[in-house]
């Protein structure tokens, strides 16, 4: 029975809308803490990514959801049930493996039907065949059923692996670096397809990746991981605009960092005093102690590159220019601050005129776009 208060009671709604949850879930291999007291909820129907470098614990988190790892302590919940010791074959969860793990001795159709055929009582043959055909159509491989696995290209194998998982209509679809083995163009295509498929099916997707572009472009929500812990989670926009630490700012998108010592400024702003004696102002989103080491983060697209100095601009030398179509990426060198990346939109470059390596130029940015972050 649904209480009418559910609509307005965020607590009750939350526990209902979580398809999976970690509560203080810890996984220890000898001395290594692969997952360090993870507490985190996965919402029904969302596309969630675990993003981090190798060894950050993202794969361990995924494998605890799949049932391949039993947490050393803590709880893993699936649809409200504690599943710590429930083996993988009893979990309504499917995984797309990094190297696909397709069965080489079975045809494409047999691979896709594998999960359906394990059900007891055995499902109807015609029903299985129909579901397999529909799954093949969904991954845009109609008619490929009788093919052998080794006759398929990497991209096609990827689609078969996807079809093999979604045909079971799992509560949770786990994707372990699924696009890592594909080339760049194919990867872009699959990103869009995965996203479309997720919206169509309404299945909760959990993706593990070390590729920030992949996570940013597909996910509703991203968990940035480091050393077995979740550092920050939020929408791609939130992580990009409001990172809580230098680590997150560095991992999500590109950024320039100016290191120095922190001090408070007026109206909740802050200042960074660089070793060279320069003072920069910026926004402060996380509490910082005076005299703490901190970094000023400025995104490359927020820096303005000009031929003549405007108020408060810094003089730099252009080192390198990379034409990216819509944007041009400049690498500029500042005498005290070192090398900085500047992204100039095509329009701005047209009105300002281009820069060549060796040119002297000036950089400036709005104070509100600079963010002072904890050095971690």
């Amino acid at each position: 029975m649904q209480s009418p208060f559910n609509e307005i009671d965020p607590g009750a709604r939350d526990s209902n809308s979580l398809i999976a949850e970690f509560r203080e879930a810890t996984k220890r291999y000898g001395d290594v803490l692969a997952a360090d007291a993870l507490s985190f909820g996965i919402r029904r129907g969302e596309f969630l990514s675990f993003l981090g470098p190798s060894g950050c614990g993202k794969t361990t988190a995924l494998r605890m959801l799949a049932g391949f790892e039993v947490p050393t302590s803590g709880i893993v919940l699936l649809d409200g049930q504690r599943v710590n010791e429930v083996p993988a074959y009893r979990r309504p969860v499917n995984m797309v493996f990094q190297h696909y793990a397709l069965f080489p001795h079975l045809s494409v159709a047999e691979n896709i039907a594998y999960g359906l055929l394990q059900r007891r009582p055995r499902p109807d043959r015609a029903d299985v065949a129909r579901k397999v055909d529909r799954a093949l159509e969904m991954v845009r491989l109609p008619g490929f059923g009788p093919r052998r696995i080794w006759e398929m290209s990497g991209g096609q194998q990827q689609r078969v692996a996807l079809a093999r998982a979604i045909v079971n209509e799992p509560k949770l679809l786990l994707l372990d670096e699924p696009l890592a083995a594909l080339d760049r163009k194919l990867r872009r295509e699959m990103q869009i397809e995965l996203q479309t498929l997720q919206r169509q099916l309404g299945i909760t997707f959990v993706l593990v990746t070390h590729d920030q572009e992949e996570a940013l472009s597909m996910s509703d929500r991203i968990c940035i991981m480091r050393g077995g812990k979740i550092v920050q989670s939020g929408s791609p926009n939130a992580l990009y605009d409001e990172p809580i630490s230098r680590y997150v700012a560095d991992f999500v998108g590109k950024s320039n960092f100016i290191e120095g010592v922190f001090s408070h400024g007026p109206d909740g702003t802050g200042r960074i005093l660089t070793p060279s004696g320069q003072l920069f102002e910026g926004r402060v989103s996380q509490p910082l102690a005076p005299n703490a080491k901190a970094s000023l983060s400025i995104r490359p697209e927020q820096i303005e590159l000009t031929h003549v100095s405007r108020g408060g601009a810094e003089q730099v030398t252009v080192i390198n220019r990379i034409f990216l179509g819509e944007h041009t990426e400049y690498l500029v060198r500042h005498a005290a601050l070192g090398d900085l990346l500047v992204l100039v939109a095509r329009q701005a470059e047209a009105s300002e005129g281009g820069f060549a390596p060796g040119d002297t130029a000036f950089i400036g940015w709005a104070k509100s776009t600079a963010l002072i972050l904890v050095q971690d």
């Binding site: 993988a88 074959y89 493996f97 069965f103 080489p104």
Partner: protein, 272 residues
Amino acid sequence: MRLYALFVYVFLYLPIAVIAIFSLNAGRHASQFTGFSTQWYAKALSNPFVMEALWTSFVVALCSAIIASIFGTMAALGLQGMKGRVRVLADALIYVAVMVPGIVIGIATLIALVTLFGWINPLLALLAPEGRAPQLAMGYGSLIAAHALFSMSLVIIILRARLAGMDRSLMEASADLYAPPLATFRQVTLPLIFPGILAGFLLSFTFSFDDFIIAFFVAGSETTLPIYVFSSIRRGVTPEINAIGTMVLAVSLLLLIVAQLILRSGTRKGGR
């Protein structure tokens, strides 16, 4: 150097070729070719002693190969689950077992079985004191046991290589797709290692069929084909022996080639 290599091949294969050629000799003597005939094949195949020895060899080879395949597969799967030093040691011991000379295995098996029978037979006599107690002795049982024991290491080596080359995530994928461990074994592991098991079976069969040294020690009153050939030679080499030798060679070669083909096609399909 090429000439040297050529001589090596000549020395290796000439005696075998001579045996095959003289098996087609019409004459009585093994050293004089007097004309083409297949009469010695017919004679060998109609000789009741040859046929009996052939049957013994066949039964021993079949039984020992089946036992070696089953237990070798189980051992290889068990070793796969082991970790670290224990596995390294177990692997090393398997290779040692293959390299131990046949004569050592023969003597060791003989002594072990005789000692074992020495303990068991009095116990059996005690259980049935009427003097009708079955007595264990050398024969089919000891032949099969000794051959199975040796062949098992061949099967283990072949399967270890195959299992090591297998993607472990295939088993995880099967579990992820709701197959319990036994179903995973039946539907994924077994089909993928089956070519290895079959190849191991054929190699075991060939080994047992050809073996003389181990069989000589543990055969008791039984006569396998190699033992028959050995004892006939003491009465002089006839083209009949050549015919038997050629047939054994042909069967062995055929099985070895089949085993190789299975192994190779298996790696191509299963490999990645």
